[in-house]
């Protein structure tokens, strides 16, 4: 049983015109087995929240706290956060030239498990994970995210989620740019990871579409760098009907 606690988190980014405050005090608690949807308009700070939890160097934490089972996440390096059990499926997964998917996955698994996985077992583990997400076997020899389509990148993120078995996963607009089939495949992957590892999920999305496949226990509406409304799944239905207009007026 794990708990990710975000308390009054304030984050700014450095710009040419000085630091700009983006997160203005975010409170969220995510426990193992729970699925929280964060919904909000573009530019409201959703990715900033995701990156800040993962430790991206671009963001400066100016206040508040993030803890995982009481441990101070904000003091951890990026890799330590992953080792502590956090995972971020990125909105824009990064291309790493010359590094094969297979080498990348094995290096990551070795780092997270503390020892190199047994080769035989690992090969079949990867094969199964790829098949489950309809990723062609040839992708193992491709360079990480290089030349992948938008949908392929997202499936590759969820494959990592299944292989690396985190405690809490943040999925940043994993649904965007996916057609119906890909959305279903990706959602099934997330649901498998939930079932297999009692994963806690922070599902960031702009649209309600993915919530038909991944059922949220809680919905948080995000606007202007903070949570402005919270509720159960019925809140998503309200957003579907009314949009974000009510929340974005300043």
């Amino acid at each position: 049983m794990s708990t990710l606690e975000i308390r009054n988190l304030q984050v700014s980014v450095d710009t040419e015109n000085g630091a700009v405050e983006i997160l203005k005090g975010v409170d969220l608690t995510i426990k193992s087995g729970e699925t929280h949807a964060i919904m909000g308009p573009n530019g409201s700070g959703k990715s900033t929240l995701a990156y800040s939890i993962a430790g991206h160097p671009k963001y400066t934490i100016t206040g508040g706290s993030v803890t995982l089972d009481g441990a101070n996440v904000l003091e951890m390096s990026v890799d330590e956060r992953a080792k502590a059990g956090l995972f971020l499926a990125m909105q824009y997964p990064v291309e790493v030239p010359g590094v094969s998917v297979s080498n990348f996955l094995r290096t990551a698994a070795t780092a997270l498990r503390g020892e190199a996985p047994k080769l035989r077992k690992w090969v079949s583990e990867v094969k199964d994970a790829m098949e489950a997400l309809s990723i062609d076997a040839s992708f193992a020899q491709r360079n990480v995210n290089e030349g992948f389509s938008g949908g392929e990148k997202k499936r590759h993120e969820i494959m990592q989620l299944e292989l690396l078995k985190p405690k809490i996963a943040i999925l940043d607009e994993t649904d965007s740019g996916l057609d119906v089939d890909a959305l279903r495949i990706v959602s099934e992957g997330v649901n498998r990871a939930k079932d297999a590892n009692n994963l806690g999920v922070l599902l960031i999305t702009h649209y309600t579409r993915i919530l038909q496949y991944i059922k949220p226990d809680f919905v948080h509406v995000f606007a202007n760098g903070r949570v402005v409304e919270e509720g159960g799944p019925e809140l998503a239905d309200k957003l579907e009907a009314q949009g974000y207009a009510e929340y974005v007026g300043n």
Partner: protein
């Protein structure tokens, strides 16, 4: 001290061709002050197969194939009493790579070495020259690739720390022939190499690729020249370099000359440098001179940058520690070129050396 029979202009450093090179570290290779070594380090490690021969021929019997105004190369021609000649007879297909090597430990006297690699028409071969040891070497390798022949030449500078190596690798590529060179420079104190190509028949193809990795205090210069002096020839140049540590210095010059008669030329050259730490310097000068507009394409690109924070973040967000993430990125950067060497043992050895250099500086 050697006695010179011709006047060789000693470079002083202001000449265009020498302006980056630290002449004071050349141990006299350029000005005649170096003692001349007796040894001939080049040896052939592969079995001699039918159609392949390796022998030394008196220099009087073998004139140089190309002109040069390079001071060090003229000294090589002056001072080497014989020429090592590797010959692949016409129509011979050599199935496995021919391994040549130099391995000398002598920093007191300089070797002046002339080499000719002659590939007869329609022959095919790969030649791998591995340089190890710690030595002073001035070297001229001329390649004659006859019509329709294919030659791949891999040259590995895996020297120890004090080596000074100045070399010119000049390929003369005839009609419909293909010359590919893979140049790897990861060891030595000063290495200055001139991979150059001259086409002698239409439809010729040259691909010059390479990697270099300079750490603190090392100077590696690669000065490429492709002379498009015939119609319908193609050339590709792609060099990638990484630098780390104080006063690591690399120079890449890519000169491509498309002469007035070289219609249908297709050329592209690329140089990418990765600066891993402060205090290192990468000079990169692509230079395209075009005398005819009737070409298929001509272009160049040059970039020098640091570690990509997004790449490191992505890898680390999967639990990979920063040192391992950097190692992956650097290996990935080089693998485009290293993977072209058709020998996994050598690939692994080079990657291992690159890892070692990387961990030395704690980059």
């Amino acid at each position: 001290m050697s006695v010179l029979t011709t006047n060789i202009l000693v470079p002083h450093g202001r000449e265009e061709d020498w302006r980056f090179t630290p002449l004071n570290r050349l141990k006299g290779l350029h000005d005649g002050s170096a003692a001349v070594a007796e040894h001939r380090s080049l040896s052939m490690d592969s079995e001699v197969t039918p159609g392949v021969s390796f022998e030394r021929i008196s220099r009087e019997l073998l004139l140089s194939l190309s002109l040069t105004d390079d001071a060090v190369m003229n000294r090589v021609r002056e001072l080497s009493s014989d020429v090592a000649v590797l010959k692949i007879a016409a129509n011979t297909e050599v199935s496995s790579p021919i391994h040549l090597s130099r391995k000398t430990f002598d920093l007191n006297a300089a070797e002046f070495s002339r080499v000719l690699i002659h590939v007869g028409s329609n022959a095919r071969a790969t030649v791998i020259l591995a340089n190890t040891g710690d030595t002073l070497l001035a070297e001229e390798i001329e390649f004659k690739v006859e019509s329709g022949a294919h030659l791949t030449f891999v040259t590995l500078q895996e020297w120890d720390a004090k080596t000074v190596h100045v070399g010119k690798h000049h390929a003369i590529v005839d009609k419909d022939a293909m010359f590919k060179s893979i140049t790897v420079t990861i060891g030595g104190s000063v290495v200055r190499l001139l991979p150059t190509v001259e086409f002698t028949g239409p439809g010729a193809d040259a691909q010059l690729i390479g990697v270099y990795f300079a750490t603190a205090g090392q100077f590696f210069e690669h000065r490429i020249f492709v002379d498009h002096c015939v119609p319908n020839a193609k050339s590709r140049v792609n060099f990638k370099g990484a630098l780390s540590g104080d006063k690591a210095h690399t120079v890449w010059i890519g000169d491509v000359f498309i002469r007035a008669n070289a219609e249908g030329t297709d050329t592209y050259e690329l140089n990418r440098n990765l600066l891993l730490t402060d205090g290192a310097r990468a000079d990169s000068v692509p230079n395209l001179e075009i005398e005819t507009g009737e070409i298929v394409g001509a272009g160049h690109a040059s970039t020098t940058g640091r570690f990509d924070d997004e790449q490191l973040f992505y890898l680390m967000s999967r639990g990979i520690a920063i040192e391992d993430a950097r190692r992956l990125v650097v290996r990935g950067f080089f693998s485009e070129i290293i993977s072209e060497i058709s020998n996994t043992e050598i690939q692994d050895r080079l990657m291992q050396r690159i890892d070692n250099e990387l961990s030395k500086v704690g980059a």
